[in-house]
């Protein structure tokens, strides 16, 4: 058609281009398929092997001696996780929410930026480092491993999650809402307490759930601070056991009954963490719909 023979040369989409496009589509679908695999494989295997460990004894007894390990349980780990994570939550939730409130409602100055910066750093810190730091300070000072040290290590990891996520949620609350309330003559702190927080309610809950999921699953920081134990204890000043620690320990024992316990504990952890994550997601999408 034209002198340079243009259209003829470029007129048909060549087989090569098609082949590349098809290969690419295959690649994309493969990625999609591959993405399904890990979760499915992990859940199936963990629950499959851990299921048999779940008995009343498992939840209520302490580890039995080497003669009949299967007769015992890991009650102290369940209790310990509850206490350590519970304490960490008690520290990090109020602290995190208060920080978030400060950052979103008052914070545009240097102090706020420093706080944000610190939160950033802590968020990117490998958890072992947080644990080692707390250990280097607290464990040395107290001359003992302790549940308290463990929960402080977890707080260090959980606080930034709550602070940042909650700050984001609070920022999403429309400014008009605040201004409307302030214009009515309601003092600032009341506006925050009675208007902003309730509106952001579900979102805050989501952040807490995410932080909890994290706290439950962390092993390294409590390994070097709370150490773990074979005995039921409620003393925060002494070493305490926790589910992840128990898994870490039993996983490497050559005793099959103990390995099964490890799978059982893993099953429970997995369940807890998955439930929290999915619930957080559902809440988050509902919150989004409320705010938009």
């Amino acid at each position: 058609m034209s002198a340079t023979g243009g259209p003829d040369r470029v007129s048909s989409v060549s087989g090569r281009r098609r082949a590349k496009d098809r290969a690419f589509t295959v690649f994309l679908w493969t990625c999609g398929g591959l993405a399904l695999l890990p979760l499915v494989l992990i859940v199936v295997y963990v629950v499959g092997r851990g299921y048999s460990a779940l008995s009343v004894n498992f939840f209520t007894k302490e580890p039995a001696g080497p003669i009949d390990p299967a007769a015992g349980g890991i009650a102290q780990a369940f209790l310990g996780t509850g206490i350590i994570v519970g304490m960490a939550a008690a520290f990090s939730i109020p602290l995190g929410i208060l920080t978030a409130i400060y950052l979103s409602e008052y914070g545009n100055g240097r102090v706020a930026n420093v706080i944000r910066f610190v939160a950033e750093i802590l968020l990117s810190t490998p958890s072992i480092v947080a644990g080692v730091f707390v250990a280097a300070v607290l464990v040395t000072a107290m001359h003992t491993f302790s549940a308290l040290a463990g929960s402080i290590a977890l707080t260090v990891l959980m606080w930034p999650v709550i602070a940042r996520a909650t700050e984001e949620i609070l920022r999403l609350v429309p400014q008009d809402l605040r201004e409307g309330a302030l214009a009515l003559g309601i003092p600032r702190w009341k506006v925050i307490l009675r208007v902003v927080i309730p509106t952001a309610g579900a979102g805050i809950l989501t952040s807490i759930m995410l932080a909890l999921a994290r706290g439950l699953g962390e092993t390294a920081p409590i390994l070097v601070t709370a150490l773990g134990s074979d005995f039921i204890s409620t003393n925060p000043g002494q070493p305490m056991d926790a589910l992840p620690l128990r898994i870490y320990n039993y996983a490497r024992q050559p005793v099959e009954a103990l390995q099964t316990f490890a799978w059982g504990a893993a099953t429970m952890l997995l369940l807890a963490v998955l439930l929290l994550s999915i619930a957080a997601r559902i809440l988050a999408s509902r919150q989004q719909r409320r705010l938009s």
């Binding site: 994309l28 993405a35 480092v129 730091f133 940042r164 997995l270 929290l276 997601r281």
Partner: protein, 294 residues
């Protein structure tokens, strides 16, 4: 906080300093090199395996529409919530044996024979090896690299895709020509985030890496990483001053690298977001920070 963190290490480091600079390097390079090596190698394997799939997934989720895209996205995101110790347990008893008894021997016999490249695919795993650790790490960083890549790709303006399509580009060509170049810095940022996570991962790695001290080409040898050695030795290093300080020093090194990576990645993701200059740019840059948790 950073100061407080470094203080114990530097206080003790200072003691070593007194005895002389020669002591320290000797101590360090004798002790630390296998761990540095292991850290880098496992992280490299994780990146090589996870990033292509993560980016492919990100493109897939952005480009394909169907009932399955949302659930699939959730599947991948939930992977990030699984505790590291569960990954370790699974890796130790499920993935590890499969890799060590089937995949690795196969690879040793096939690619292992190829002249240069083959040297990588050699080694004897004893209770774990660098390759297995790399694979487990890859699965662990997949969610975060995918999530950030998705955000970065979603931000590419529709205009550009349309321009490519109107020129008669196939789907592959559209993505190559209009989407990827635009999202490039953001994708690098996503990779860095994944890298940061891989470098810091402790428990899962320590359970499957074998605890050896390999330095050398064979990926199928047992090895160690900085986090894994800190975790396994810290409790025993309580009373030996220099051992502990060395471990703490390693911890400081680890944190610094993680921080630099995190900062760099935020910058890069922001750069992609800036090309758009949309109000969503802020959230694109902030999002990744929250996903590192878990």
């Amino acid at each position: 906080m950073l100061g407080g963190q470094g203080e114990p290490a530097f206080r003790r480091f200072g003691l070593g300093f007194l005895i002389g600079r020669n002591w320290d390097p000797v101590h360090e390079s004798f002790g630390a090199l296998p761990y540095v090596f292991g850290t880098l190698v496992t992280a490299a394997i994780a990146i090589v395996l996870a990033v292509p799939i993560a980016v492919g997934l990100a493109i897939f989720l952005n480009d394909t529409h169907g009932w399955f895209t949302h659930p699939l996205a959730i599947f991948v995101d939930v992977l990030a919530a699984i505790p590291s110790v569960v990954y370790g347990l699974w890796g130790l008893y499920v993935l590890g044996p499969v890799l060590q008894n089937h995949v690795e021997p196969f690879l040793t016999d096939t690619i292992g024979r190829v002249p240069l490249l083959g040297r990588l695919f050699q080694g004897t795993p004893t209770g774990g090896d660098l390759f297995t650790a790399g694979v487990v790490l890859a699965i662990m960083i997949l969610p975060i690299v995918t999530a950030v890549s998705r955000e970065v790709i979603a931000v590419v303006p529709r205009d550009l895709r349309e321009a490519a399509k109107a020129l008669g580009a196939t789907r592959y060509e559209t993505i190559r020509m209009a989407v990827l170049p635009y999202a490039r810095s953001g994708l690098v940022g996503a990779t860095m985030l994944g890298l940061g996570r891989a470098l810091g991962e402790t428990i899962a790695v320590s359970m499957v890496v074998g605890g050896g001290r390999s330095i050398g080409f064979g990926l199928f040898n047992a090895g160690s990483t900085i986090p894994s050695v800190i975790a396994s030795q810290f409790l025993n290093a309580q009373n030996i001053g220099f051992h502990r300080s060395a471990l703490l020093a390693l911890a400081v090194v680890l944190v610094s690298i993680a921080l630099v990576l995190a900062a760099a990645s935020r910058l890069l993701v922001r750069r992609t977001a800036k090309l758009v200059q949309a109000p969503t740019a802020e959230s694109v840059a902030e999002g990744p920070a929250l996903r590192i948790s878990g």
